[in-house]
Subunit: 147 residues, 4 copies
Protein backbone atom coordinates (compact mmCIF):
# COMPACT_ATOMS: atom_id res chain seq x y z
CA UNK A 1 0.00 0.00 0.00
CA UNK A 2 1.50 3.32 -1.07
CA UNK A 3 1.34 6.00 1.56
CA UNK A 4 -0.63 9.03 0.49
CA UNK A 5 -0.50 11.81 3.10
CA UNK A 6 -3.90 12.96 4.26
CA UNK A 7 -4.48 16.52 3.08
CA UNK A 8 -6.04 19.66 4.54
CA UNK A 9 -8.31 22.13 2.78
CA UNK A 10 -5.48 24.63 2.37
CA UNK A 11 -3.67 22.24 0.04
CA UNK A 12 -6.32 22.69 -2.64
CA UNK A 13 -6.84 25.50 -5.11
CA UNK A 14 -10.33 24.93 -6.52
CA UNK A 15 -13.48 23.66 -4.82
CA UNK A 16 -16.81 22.29 -5.99
CA UNK A 17 -19.77 21.43 -3.81
CA UNK A 18 -21.14 17.99 -4.63
CA UNK A 19 -24.46 16.81 -3.22
CA UNK A 20 -24.84 13.07 -2.85
CA UNK A 21 -27.73 11.14 -4.41
CA UNK A 22 -29.87 8.23 -3.27
CA UNK A 23 -28.29 5.86 -5.77
CA UNK A 24 -24.76 6.75 -4.61
CA UNK A 25 -25.25 4.54 -1.55
CA UNK A 26 -24.71 0.83 -1.86
CA UNK A 27 -26.17 -1.95 0.29
CA UNK A 28 -23.90 -1.04 3.17
CA UNK A 29 -25.55 2.39 3.38
CA UNK A 30 -22.54 4.40 2.26
CA UNK A 31 -21.40 5.92 -0.99
CA UNK A 32 -20.07 3.20 -3.27
CA UNK A 33 -16.32 3.44 -3.94
CA UNK A 34 -16.78 3.75 -7.72
CA UNK A 35 -18.98 6.78 -7.19
CA UNK A 36 -16.07 8.72 -5.64
CA UNK A 37 -14.43 8.60 -9.06
CA UNK A 38 -17.54 10.09 -10.65
CA UNK A 39 -17.10 12.96 -8.18
CA UNK A 40 -13.46 13.30 -9.32
CA UNK A 41 -14.54 13.38 -12.96
CA UNK A 42 -17.22 15.95 -12.28
CA UNK A 43 -14.82 18.13 -10.29
CA UNK A 44 -12.07 18.16 -12.94
CA UNK A 45 -14.35 18.64 -15.92
CA UNK A 46 -16.55 21.27 -14.25
CA UNK A 47 -13.37 23.25 -13.50
CA UNK A 48 -12.13 22.92 -17.10
CA UNK A 49 -15.51 23.95 -18.54
CA UNK A 50 -15.98 26.84 -16.10
CA UNK A 51 -12.54 28.21 -17.01
CA UNK A 52 -13.21 27.81 -20.75
CA UNK A 53 -10.50 25.18 -21.05
CA UNK A 54 -12.85 22.50 -22.39
CA UNK A 55 -15.88 22.26 -24.61
CA UNK A 56 -16.75 18.54 -24.43
CA UNK A 57 -18.55 18.71 -27.79
CA UNK A 58 -16.01 20.73 -29.73
CA UNK A 59 -12.49 21.02 -28.28
CA UNK A 60 -9.95 19.78 -30.83
CA UNK A 61 -7.95 18.04 -28.13
CA UNK A 62 -9.44 16.43 -25.05
CA UNK A 63 -8.09 14.93 -21.86
CA UNK A 64 -8.51 11.18 -21.54
CA UNK A 65 -7.97 9.52 -18.20
CA UNK A 66 -4.92 7.25 -18.03
CA UNK A 67 -4.60 6.75 -14.29
CA UNK A 68 -6.66 7.32 -11.16
CA UNK A 69 -6.44 6.23 -7.57
CA UNK A 70 -8.19 6.84 -4.27
CA UNK A 71 -7.64 6.28 -0.57
CA UNK A 72 -10.83 6.04 1.46
CA UNK A 73 -10.53 7.25 5.07
CA UNK A 74 -14.13 7.81 6.19
CA UNK A 75 -17.46 7.00 4.66
CA UNK A 76 -19.73 9.45 2.88
CA UNK A 77 -23.43 8.86 2.58
CA UNK A 78 -26.73 10.09 1.17
CA UNK A 79 -27.74 12.70 2.15
CA UNK A 80 -24.41 14.53 2.46
CA UNK A 81 -22.81 17.64 1.02
CA UNK A 82 -19.19 17.28 -0.06
CA UNK A 83 -16.59 19.97 -0.61
CA UNK A 84 -14.42 18.54 -3.36
CA UNK A 85 -10.97 20.12 -3.56
CA UNK A 86 -8.60 20.07 -6.51
CA UNK A 87 -5.04 21.07 -7.24
CA UNK A 88 -2.71 20.53 -10.17
CA UNK A 89 0.44 18.76 -9.03
CA UNK A 90 2.25 18.56 -12.35
CA UNK A 91 1.89 19.38 -16.02
CA UNK A 92 3.98 17.32 -18.42
CA UNK A 93 4.26 17.48 -22.18
CA UNK A 94 0.93 15.75 -22.80
CA UNK A 95 -0.36 15.07 -19.32
CA UNK A 96 -1.83 16.87 -16.33
CA UNK A 97 -1.87 15.31 -12.89
CA UNK A 98 -4.50 16.43 -10.38
CA UNK A 99 -4.68 15.75 -6.67
CA UNK A 100 -8.15 15.63 -5.17
CA UNK A 101 -9.68 15.49 -1.71
CA UNK A 102 -13.29 15.05 -0.66
CA UNK A 103 -14.28 16.76 2.58
CA UNK A 104 -17.65 16.20 4.18
CA UNK A 105 -19.14 19.69 4.50
CA UNK A 106 -17.74 21.40 7.58
CA UNK A 107 -14.97 18.89 8.22
CA UNK A 108 -11.23 19.53 7.97
CA UNK A 109 -10.04 15.99 7.49
CA UNK A 110 -10.80 14.56 4.06
CA UNK A 111 -13.01 11.49 3.77
CA UNK A 112 -10.98 10.50 0.71
CA UNK A 113 -7.96 11.65 -1.27
CA UNK A 114 -7.01 10.67 -4.76
CA UNK A 115 -5.29 11.50 -7.99
CA UNK A 116 -6.42 11.77 -11.57
CA UNK A 117 -4.18 11.93 -14.65
CA UNK A 118 -5.32 13.32 -17.99
CA UNK A 119 -3.40 12.77 -21.21
CA UNK A 120 -4.37 15.15 -23.98
CA UNK A 121 -5.25 13.48 -27.28
CA UNK A 122 -6.51 14.65 -30.61
CA UNK A 123 -10.30 14.21 -30.57
CA UNK A 124 -10.39 12.40 -33.91
CA UNK A 125 -7.25 10.26 -33.91
CA UNK A 126 -7.03 9.80 -30.12
CA UNK A 127 -3.23 10.14 -30.42
CA UNK A 128 -1.39 12.10 -27.68
CA UNK A 129 -0.81 15.79 -28.31
CA UNK A 130 0.91 18.46 -26.22
CA UNK A 131 -1.22 20.02 -23.49
CA UNK A 132 -2.81 22.98 -25.33
CA UNK A 133 -1.13 26.29 -24.47
CA UNK A 134 -4.37 27.83 -23.17
CA UNK A 135 -4.98 24.81 -20.91
CA UNK A 136 -1.44 25.02 -19.57
CA UNK A 137 -1.88 28.74 -18.89
CA UNK A 138 -5.34 28.26 -17.42
CA UNK A 139 -4.19 25.53 -15.03
CA UNK A 140 -1.12 27.32 -13.74
CA UNK A 141 -2.98 29.15 -10.96
CA UNK A 142 -4.08 25.75 -9.65
CA UNK A 143 -0.57 24.35 -9.26
CA UNK A 144 0.31 23.68 -5.64
CA UNK A 145 3.60 22.12 -4.74
CA UNK A 146 2.77 20.24 -1.57
CA UNK A 147 5.52 18.38 0.23
CA UNK B 1 -48.93 7.92 -25.68
CA UNK B 2 -50.69 9.18 -22.57
CA UNK B 3 -50.92 12.93 -22.42
CA UNK B 4 -49.31 14.40 -19.36
CA UNK B 5 -49.90 18.14 -19.09
CA UNK B 6 -46.73 20.16 -18.83
CA UNK B 7 -46.54 21.79 -15.42
CA UNK B 8 -45.40 25.12 -14.04
CA UNK B 9 -43.33 25.74 -10.92
CA UNK B 10 -46.40 26.81 -8.94
CA UNK B 11 -47.82 23.30 -9.21
CA UNK B 12 -45.12 21.94 -6.93
CA UNK B 13 -44.80 22.08 -3.16
CA UNK B 14 -41.20 21.06 -2.44
CA UNK B 15 -38.03 21.79 -4.36
CA UNK B 16 -34.51 20.40 -4.40
CA UNK B 17 -31.58 21.75 -6.37
CA UNK B 18 -29.80 18.99 -8.25
CA UNK B 19 -26.43 19.60 -9.92
CA UNK B 20 -25.65 17.39 -12.89
CA UNK B 21 -22.49 15.30 -13.07
CA UNK B 22 -20.10 14.44 -15.89
CA UNK B 23 -21.27 10.82 -16.01
CA UNK B 24 -24.92 11.87 -16.32
CA UNK B 25 -24.33 12.67 -19.98
CA UNK B 26 -24.44 9.89 -22.51
CA UNK B 27 -22.76 9.75 -25.93
CA UNK B 28 -25.26 12.22 -27.33
CA UNK B 29 -24.03 14.86 -24.90
CA UNK B 30 -27.21 15.05 -22.82
CA UNK B 31 -28.35 13.58 -19.54
CA UNK B 32 -29.25 9.93 -20.06
CA UNK B 33 -32.95 9.18 -19.61
CA UNK B 34 -32.35 6.68 -16.80
CA UNK B 35 -30.54 9.34 -14.81
CA UNK B 36 -33.72 11.44 -14.60
CA UNK B 37 -35.16 8.69 -12.45
CA UNK B 38 -32.17 8.86 -10.14
CA UNK B 39 -33.05 12.55 -9.73
CA UNK B 40 -36.65 11.55 -8.88
CA UNK B 41 -35.41 9.06 -6.32
CA UNK B 42 -33.07 11.56 -4.76
CA UNK B 43 -35.80 14.22 -4.63
CA UNK B 44 -38.40 12.00 -2.94
CA UNK B 45 -36.04 10.40 -0.44
CA UNK B 46 -34.24 13.62 0.43
CA UNK B 47 -37.65 15.16 1.24
CA UNK B 48 -38.65 12.17 3.38
CA UNK B 49 -35.35 12.18 5.27
CA UNK B 50 -35.32 15.96 5.75
CA UNK B 51 -38.83 15.84 7.22
CA UNK B 52 -37.95 12.91 9.49
CA UNK B 53 -40.32 10.62 7.63
CA UNK B 54 -37.64 8.09 6.69
CA UNK B 55 -34.49 6.64 8.18
CA UNK B 56 -33.20 4.39 5.38
CA UNK B 57 -31.27 2.25 7.86
CA UNK B 58 -33.93 1.88 10.55
CA UNK B 59 -37.52 2.76 9.61
CA UNK B 60 -39.79 -0.23 10.31
CA UNK B 61 -41.71 0.36 7.11
CA UNK B 62 -40.19 1.68 3.90
CA UNK B 63 -41.53 2.86 0.56
CA UNK B 64 -40.70 0.62 -2.37
CA UNK B 65 -41.23 1.89 -5.87
CA UNK B 66 -44.01 0.13 -7.81
CA UNK B 67 -44.44 2.50 -10.74
CA UNK B 68 -42.62 5.41 -12.33
CA UNK B 69 -42.90 7.28 -15.59
CA UNK B 70 -41.40 10.29 -17.30
CA UNK B 71 -42.06 12.57 -20.26
CA UNK B 72 -38.97 14.26 -21.66
CA UNK B 73 -39.57 17.68 -23.25
CA UNK B 74 -36.13 19.26 -23.43
CA UNK B 75 -32.66 17.98 -22.80
CA UNK B 76 -30.60 18.58 -19.68
CA UNK B 77 -26.84 18.38 -19.72
CA UNK B 78 -23.63 18.56 -17.71
CA UNK B 79 -22.97 21.14 -16.42
CA UNK B 80 -26.49 22.23 -15.45
CA UNK B 81 -28.37 23.07 -12.27
CA UNK B 82 -31.88 21.62 -11.97
CA UNK B 83 -34.73 22.74 -9.77
CA UNK B 84 -36.58 19.53 -9.05
CA UNK B 85 -40.19 20.06 -7.92
CA UNK B 86 -42.37 17.59 -6.07
CA UNK B 87 -45.98 17.34 -5.03
CA UNK B 88 -48.09 14.57 -3.56
CA UNK B 89 -51.07 13.86 -5.78
CA UNK B 90 -52.69 11.09 -3.75
CA UNK B 91 -52.22 9.01 -0.63
CA UNK B 92 -53.95 5.63 -0.63
CA UNK B 93 -54.05 2.97 2.05
CA UNK B 94 -50.53 1.70 1.35
CA UNK B 95 -49.36 3.95 -1.43
CA UNK B 96 -48.24 7.51 -2.08
CA UNK B 97 -48.19 8.97 -5.56
CA UNK B 98 -45.83 11.85 -6.32
CA UNK B 99 -45.76 14.14 -9.34
CA UNK B 100 -42.38 15.56 -10.28
CA UNK B 101 -41.02 18.16 -12.65
CA UNK B 102 -37.43 19.03 -13.50
CA UNK B 103 -36.80 22.66 -14.40
CA UNK B 104 -33.48 23.84 -15.73
CA UNK B 105 -32.41 26.59 -13.33
CA UNK B 106 -34.16 29.81 -14.21
CA UNK B 107 -36.66 28.30 -16.65
CA UNK B 108 -40.40 28.14 -16.19
CA UNK B 109 -41.17 25.27 -18.53
CA UNK B 110 -40.10 21.88 -17.19
CA UNK B 111 -37.54 19.87 -19.13
CA UNK B 112 -39.29 16.74 -17.89
CA UNK B 113 -42.31 15.71 -15.84
CA UNK B 114 -42.98 12.39 -14.23
CA UNK B 115 -44.61 10.38 -11.50
CA UNK B 116 -43.33 8.07 -8.81
CA UNK B 117 -45.44 5.68 -6.71
CA UNK B 118 -44.29 4.29 -3.38
CA UNK B 119 -45.99 1.36 -1.68
CA UNK B 120 -45.14 1.03 1.98
CA UNK B 121 -43.91 -2.38 3.06
CA UNK B 122 -42.63 -3.90 6.24
CA UNK B 123 -38.83 -3.72 6.07
CA UNK B 124 -38.36 -7.37 7.04
CA UNK B 125 -41.26 -9.18 5.32
CA UNK B 126 -41.59 -6.76 2.39
CA UNK B 127 -45.39 -7.16 2.67
CA UNK B 128 -47.55 -4.05 2.14
CA UNK B 129 -48.53 -2.10 5.23
CA UNK B 130 -50.64 1.04 5.68
CA UNK B 131 -48.84 4.31 5.06
CA UNK B 132 -47.49 5.13 8.55
CA UNK B 133 -49.58 7.80 10.31
CA UNK B 134 -46.60 10.15 10.71
CA UNK B 135 -45.78 9.85 7.01
CA UNK B 136 -49.38 10.58 6.08
CA UNK B 137 -49.40 13.63 8.34
CA UNK B 138 -45.98 14.77 7.17
CA UNK B 139 -46.93 14.54 3.49
CA UNK B 140 -50.25 16.35 3.77
CA UNK B 141 -48.73 19.82 3.32
CA UNK B 142 -47.33 18.62 -0.02
CA UNK B 143 -50.68 17.56 -1.48
CA UNK B 144 -51.64 19.66 -4.48
CA UNK B 145 -54.80 18.91 -6.41
CA UNK B 146 -53.90 20.06 -9.89
CA UNK B 147 -56.45 19.80 -12.65
CA UNK C 1 -52.47 4.22 -11.71
CA UNK C 2 -52.69 2.97 -15.29
CA UNK C 3 -53.12 -0.77 -15.58
CA UNK C 4 -50.39 -2.42 -17.57
CA UNK C 5 -51.05 -6.13 -18.14
CA UNK C 6 -48.29 -8.39 -16.91
CA UNK C 7 -46.65 -10.06 -19.90
CA UNK C 8 -45.25 -13.52 -20.67
CA UNK C 9 -42.05 -14.35 -22.54
CA UNK C 10 -43.96 -15.22 -25.71
CA UNK C 11 -45.08 -11.60 -26.04
CA UNK C 12 -41.54 -10.49 -26.83
CA UNK C 13 -39.55 -10.72 -30.04
CA UNK C 14 -35.96 -9.96 -29.01
CA UNK C 15 -34.08 -10.90 -25.87
CA UNK C 16 -30.88 -9.76 -24.21
CA UNK C 17 -29.26 -11.28 -21.15
CA UNK C 18 -28.35 -8.63 -18.60
CA UNK C 19 -26.15 -9.45 -15.61
CA UNK C 20 -26.66 -7.26 -12.57
CA UNK C 21 -23.79 -5.37 -10.92
CA UNK C 22 -22.88 -4.64 -7.33
CA UNK C 23 -23.71 -0.96 -7.70
CA UNK C 24 -27.19 -1.73 -9.09
CA UNK C 25 -28.38 -2.52 -5.58
CA UNK C 26 -29.44 0.31 -3.31
CA UNK C 27 -29.48 0.38 0.49
CA UNK C 28 -32.54 -1.88 0.55
CA UNK C 29 -30.51 -4.64 -1.09
CA UNK C 30 -32.41 -4.64 -4.39
CA UNK C 31 -31.81 -3.13 -7.79
CA UNK C 32 -32.58 0.57 -7.70
CA UNK C 33 -35.62 1.58 -9.76
CA UNK C 34 -33.63 3.98 -11.95
CA UNK C 35 -31.30 1.16 -12.94
CA UNK C 36 -34.19 -0.72 -14.61
CA UNK C 37 -34.28 2.11 -17.14
CA UNK C 38 -30.59 1.68 -17.84
CA UNK C 39 -31.45 -1.95 -18.66
CA UNK C 40 -34.18 -0.70 -21.04
CA UNK C 41 -31.73 1.63 -22.73
CA UNK C 42 -29.13 -1.06 -23.10
CA UNK C 43 -31.68 -3.51 -24.50
CA UNK C 44 -33.06 -1.14 -27.15
CA UNK C 45 -29.71 0.24 -28.26
CA UNK C 46 -27.95 -3.13 -28.28
CA UNK C 47 -30.72 -4.41 -30.58
CA UNK C 48 -30.42 -1.39 -32.88
CA UNK C 49 -26.62 -1.68 -33.07
CA UNK C 50 -26.66 -5.46 -33.54
CA UNK C 51 -29.10 -5.09 -36.45
CA UNK C 52 -27.06 -2.29 -38.01
CA UNK C 53 -29.85 0.21 -37.40
CA UNK C 54 -27.71 2.55 -35.29
CA UNK C 55 -24.14 3.73 -35.15
CA UNK C 56 -24.11 5.95 -32.05
CA UNK C 57 -21.11 7.89 -33.34
CA UNK C 58 -22.21 8.41 -36.93
CA UNK C 59 -25.90 7.81 -37.73
CA UNK C 60 -27.36 10.93 -39.33
CA UNK C 61 -30.58 10.55 -37.36
CA UNK C 62 -30.79 9.16 -33.86
CA UNK C 63 -33.58 8.15 -31.50
CA UNK C 64 -34.02 10.38 -28.49
CA UNK C 65 -36.18 9.22 -25.62
CA UNK C 66 -39.40 11.20 -25.14
CA UNK C 67 -41.30 8.91 -22.78
CA UNK C 68 -40.62 5.92 -20.57
CA UNK C 69 -42.48 4.11 -17.83
CA UNK C 70 -42.14 1.04 -15.67
CA UNK C 71 -44.24 -1.14 -13.39
CA UNK C 72 -42.25 -3.01 -10.77
CA UNK C 73 -43.75 -6.35 -9.70
CA UNK C 74 -40.89 -8.19 -8.01
CA UNK C 75 -37.44 -7.17 -6.95
CA UNK C 76 -34.24 -7.96 -8.79
CA UNK C 77 -30.89 -8.04 -7.04
CA UNK C 78 -27.15 -8.49 -7.36
CA UNK C 79 -26.17 -11.14 -8.28
CA UNK C 80 -28.93 -11.97 -10.76
CA UNK C 81 -29.20 -12.73 -14.45
CA UNK C 82 -32.08 -11.04 -16.28
CA UNK C 83 -33.67 -12.00 -19.57
CA UNK C 84 -34.77 -8.66 -21.00
CA UNK C 85 -37.48 -8.95 -23.65
CA UNK C 86 -38.41 -6.37 -26.24
CA UNK C 87 -41.11 -5.87 -28.83
CA UNK C 88 -42.12 -2.98 -31.05
CA UNK C 89 -45.72 -2.03 -30.41
CA UNK C 90 -46.03 0.82 -32.90
CA UNK C 91 -44.05 2.81 -35.43
CA UNK C 92 -45.33 6.31 -36.17
CA UNK C 93 -44.02 8.93 -38.54
CA UNK C 94 -41.12 9.95 -36.31
CA UNK C 95 -41.50 7.66 -33.33
CA UNK C 96 -41.07 4.05 -32.30
CA UNK C 97 -42.71 2.63 -29.22
CA UNK C 98 -41.18 -0.39 -27.52
CA UNK C 99 -42.66 -2.62 -24.84
CA UNK C 100 -40.19 -4.25 -22.49
CA UNK C 101 -40.24 -6.92 -19.81
CA UNK C 102 -37.51 -8.03 -17.43
CA UNK C 103 -37.63 -11.68 -16.38
CA UNK C 104 -35.37 -13.08 -13.72
CA UNK C 105 -33.53 -15.93 -15.40
CA UNK C 106 -35.71 -19.02 -15.47
CA UNK C 107 -38.93 -17.27 -14.42
CA UNK C 108 -42.04 -16.84 -16.54
CA UNK C 109 -43.57 -13.89 -14.76
CA UNK C 110 -41.76 -10.62 -15.40
CA UNK C 111 -40.23 -8.76 -12.48
CA UNK C 112 -41.00 -5.53 -14.32
CA UNK C 113 -42.67 -4.33 -17.49
CA UNK C 114 -42.28 -0.99 -19.17
CA UNK C 115 -42.35 1.07 -22.30
CA UNK C 116 -39.84 3.24 -24.08
CA UNK C 117 -40.56 5.74 -26.87
CA UNK C 118 -37.93 7.00 -29.29
CA UNK C 119 -38.44 10.01 -31.52
CA UNK C 120 -36.00 10.21 -34.40
CA UNK C 121 -34.17 13.51 -34.72
CA UNK C 122 -31.47 14.87 -36.94
CA UNK C 123 -28.20 14.43 -35.05
CA UNK C 124 -27.08 18.02 -35.62
CA UNK C 125 -30.30 20.06 -35.38
CA UNK C 126 -32.11 17.71 -32.96
CA UNK C 127 -35.33 18.39 -34.94
CA UNK C 128 -37.71 15.46 -35.54
CA UNK C 129 -37.31 13.53 -38.78
CA UNK C 130 -39.19 10.54 -40.19
CA UNK C 131 -38.11 7.15 -38.88
CA UNK C 132 -35.39 6.17 -41.39
CA UNK C 133 -36.63 3.63 -43.94
CA UNK C 134 -33.99 1.07 -42.99
CA UNK C 135 -34.91 1.38 -39.31
CA UNK C 136 -38.58 0.93 -40.15
CA UNK C 137 -37.79 -2.15 -42.22
CA UNK C 138 -35.38 -3.52 -39.64
CA UNK C 139 -37.88 -3.17 -36.81
CA UNK C 140 -40.83 -4.72 -38.58
CA UNK C 141 -39.95 -8.29 -37.55
CA UNK C 142 -40.13 -7.14 -33.93
CA UNK C 143 -43.68 -5.82 -34.12
CA UNK C 144 -46.05 -7.78 -31.93
CA UNK C 145 -49.67 -6.77 -31.62
CA UNK C 146 -50.56 -7.89 -28.14
CA UNK C 147 -54.08 -7.39 -26.86
CA UNK D 1 3.23 8.02 -11.99
CA UNK D 2 3.80 4.60 -10.44
CA UNK D 3 4.66 1.90 -12.93
CA UNK D 4 2.20 -0.95 -12.94
CA UNK D 5 3.30 -3.76 -15.27
CA UNK D 6 0.72 -4.70 -17.86
CA UNK D 7 -0.53 -8.21 -17.15
CA UNK D 8 -1.50 -11.22 -19.22
CA UNK D 9 -4.49 -13.50 -18.72
CA UNK D 10 -2.34 -16.19 -17.12
CA UNK D 11 -1.62 -13.88 -14.18
CA UNK D 12 -5.23 -14.11 -13.00
CA UNK D 13 -7.01 -16.84 -11.10
CA UNK D 14 -10.71 -15.99 -11.41
CA UNK D 15 -12.63 -14.52 -14.32
CA UNK D 16 -16.02 -12.89 -14.77
CA UNK D 17 -17.61 -11.86 -18.06
CA UNK D 18 -18.94 -8.31 -17.88
CA UNK D 19 -21.17 -6.93 -20.62
CA UNK D 20 -21.06 -3.17 -21.06
CA UNK D 21 -24.21 -1.02 -20.95
CA UNK D 22 -25.37 2.01 -22.91
CA UNK D 23 -24.93 4.30 -19.93
CA UNK D 24 -21.34 3.15 -19.36
CA UNK D 25 -20.24 5.33 -22.26
CA UNK D 26 -19.63 9.00 -21.68
CA UNK D 27 -19.75 11.85 -24.20
CA UNK D 28 -16.48 10.73 -25.74
CA UNK D 29 -18.09 7.43 -26.75
CA UNK D 30 -16.06 5.22 -24.42
CA UNK D 31 -16.66 3.67 -21.04
CA UNK D 32 -16.32 6.33 -18.36
CA UNK D 33 -13.31 5.84 -16.07
CA UNK D 34 -15.46 5.62 -12.91
CA UNK D 35 -17.39 2.74 -14.43
CA UNK D 36 -14.25 0.59 -14.52
CA UNK D 37 -14.34 0.65 -10.74
CA UNK D 38 -17.92 -0.59 -10.75
CA UNK D 39 -16.62 -3.53 -12.80
CA UNK D 40 -13.92 -4.11 -10.15
CA UNK D 41 -16.54 -4.05 -7.39
CA UNK D 42 -18.80 -6.42 -9.26
CA UNK D 43 -15.93 -8.80 -9.96
CA UNK D 44 -14.69 -8.99 -6.36
CA UNK D 45 -18.10 -9.27 -4.74
CA UNK D 46 -19.49 -11.75 -7.29
CA UNK D 47 -16.48 -13.98 -6.53
CA UNK D 48 -16.98 -13.66 -2.77
CA UNK D 49 -20.71 -14.42 -3.03
CA UNK D 50 -20.23 -17.32 -5.47
CA UNK D 51 -17.70 -18.92 -3.12
CA UNK D 52 -19.95 -18.40 -0.09
CA UNK D 53 -17.49 -15.96 1.45
CA UNK D 54 -19.98 -13.10 1.63
CA UNK D 55 -23.67 -12.60 2.25
CA UNK D 56 -24.09 -8.83 1.75
CA UNK D 57 -27.22 -8.81 3.91
CA UNK D 58 -26.01 -10.97 6.80
CA UNK D 59 -22.24 -11.55 7.07
CA UNK D 60 -21.04 -10.46 10.52
CA UNK D 61 -17.92 -8.91 9.04
CA UNK D 62 -17.74 -7.25 5.65
CA UNK D 63 -14.97 -5.90 3.44
CA UNK D 64 -14.93 -2.15 3.03
CA UNK D 65 -12.81 -0.58 0.34
CA UNK D 66 -9.85 1.46 1.61
CA UNK D 67 -7.85 1.87 -1.57
CA UNK D 68 -8.30 1.40 -5.29
CA UNK D 69 -6.40 2.41 -8.39
CA UNK D 70 -6.49 1.88 -12.12
CA UNK D 71 -4.27 2.33 -15.17
CA UNK D 72 -6.16 2.75 -18.42
CA UNK D 73 -4.35 1.46 -21.54
CA UNK D 74 -7.07 1.15 -24.17
CA UNK D 75 -10.67 2.22 -24.30
CA UNK D 76 -13.67 -0.03 -23.78
CA UNK D 77 -17.05 0.82 -25.17
CA UNK D 78 -20.70 -0.13 -25.47
CA UNK D 79 -21.33 -2.69 -26.84
CA UNK D 80 -18.37 -4.77 -25.63
CA UNK D 81 -17.85 -7.94 -23.66
CA UNK D 82 -15.10 -7.83 -21.04
CA UNK D 83 -13.24 -10.69 -19.43
CA UNK D 84 -12.45 -9.37 -15.97
CA UNK D 85 -9.60 -11.19 -14.26
CA UNK D 86 -8.83 -11.26 -10.54
CA UNK D 87 -6.07 -12.51 -8.29
CA UNK D 88 -5.28 -12.08 -4.62
CA UNK D 89 -1.84 -10.56 -4.18
CA UNK D 90 -1.73 -10.44 -0.39
CA UNK D 91 -3.78 -11.17 2.69
CA UNK D 92 -2.86 -9.21 5.82
CA UNK D 93 -4.31 -9.35 9.30
CA UNK D 94 -7.44 -7.36 8.37
CA UNK D 95 -6.96 -6.66 4.69
CA UNK D 96 -7.04 -8.39 1.34
CA UNK D 97 -5.41 -6.89 -1.72
CA UNK D 98 -6.68 -7.85 -5.17
CA UNK D 99 -5.10 -7.23 -8.56
CA UNK D 100 -7.48 -6.89 -11.47
CA UNK D 101 -7.27 -6.70 -15.24
CA UNK D 102 -9.96 -6.02 -17.80
CA UNK D 103 -9.50 -7.72 -21.18
CA UNK D 104 -11.72 -6.95 -24.13
CA UNK D 105 -13.15 -10.31 -25.15
CA UNK D 106 -10.62 -12.19 -27.27
CA UNK D 107 -7.68 -9.89 -26.54
CA UNK D 108 -4.54 -10.80 -24.64
CA UNK D 109 -3.43 -7.33 -23.61
CA UNK D 110 -5.56 -5.79 -20.87
CA UNK D 111 -7.44 -2.58 -21.55
CA UNK D 112 -6.95 -1.67 -17.90
CA UNK D 113 -5.27 -3.00 -14.79
CA UNK D 114 -5.95 -2.03 -11.23
CA UNK D 115 -5.95 -2.93 -7.59
CA UNK D 116 -8.59 -3.05 -4.90
CA UNK D 117 -8.01 -3.33 -1.14
CA UNK D 118 -10.65 -4.56 1.29
CA UNK D 119 -10.35 -4.10 5.05
CA UNK D 120 -12.65 -6.36 7.03
CA UNK D 121 -14.82 -4.58 9.59
CA UNK D 122 -17.53 -5.58 11.97
CA UNK D 123 -20.82 -4.88 10.21
CA UNK D 124 -22.31 -3.01 13.17
CA UNK D 125 -19.38 -1.11 14.64
CA UNK D 126 -17.41 -0.70 11.39
CA UNK D 127 -14.22 -1.34 13.37
CA UNK D 128 -11.49 -3.46 11.74
CA UNK D 129 -11.50 -7.17 12.52
CA UNK D 130 -9.22 -10.01 11.37
CA UNK D 131 -9.99 -11.44 7.94
CA UNK D 132 -12.45 -14.25 8.81
CA UNK D 133 -10.80 -17.69 8.74
CA UNK D 134 -13.19 -19.01 6.08
CA UNK D 135 -12.49 -16.00 3.85
CA UNK D 136 -8.75 -16.50 4.26
CA UNK D 137 -9.09 -20.19 3.39
CA UNK D 138 -11.47 -19.48 0.51
CA UNK D 139 -9.16 -16.89 -1.03
CA UNK D 140 -5.97 -18.92 -0.83
CA UNK D 141 -6.51 -20.65 -4.18
CA UNK D 142 -6.64 -17.20 -5.78
CA UNK D 143 -3.24 -16.05 -4.52
CA UNK D 144 -0.79 -15.52 -7.34
CA UNK D 145 2.69 -14.21 -6.62
CA UNK D 146 3.51 -12.32 -9.78
CA UNK D 147 6.90 -10.70 -10.12
Amino acid sequence: MIEEPRRARGDFAHFLEIVTRWADNDVYGHVNNATYYSYFDTLVNQMLIERNLLDPAKSASIGVVVETGCHFFASLSFPDVIDAGLRVSSIGNSSVRYEIALFRHGENEPAATGHFVHVYVDRATRRPVPVPAEVRAGLEPLIRAVT
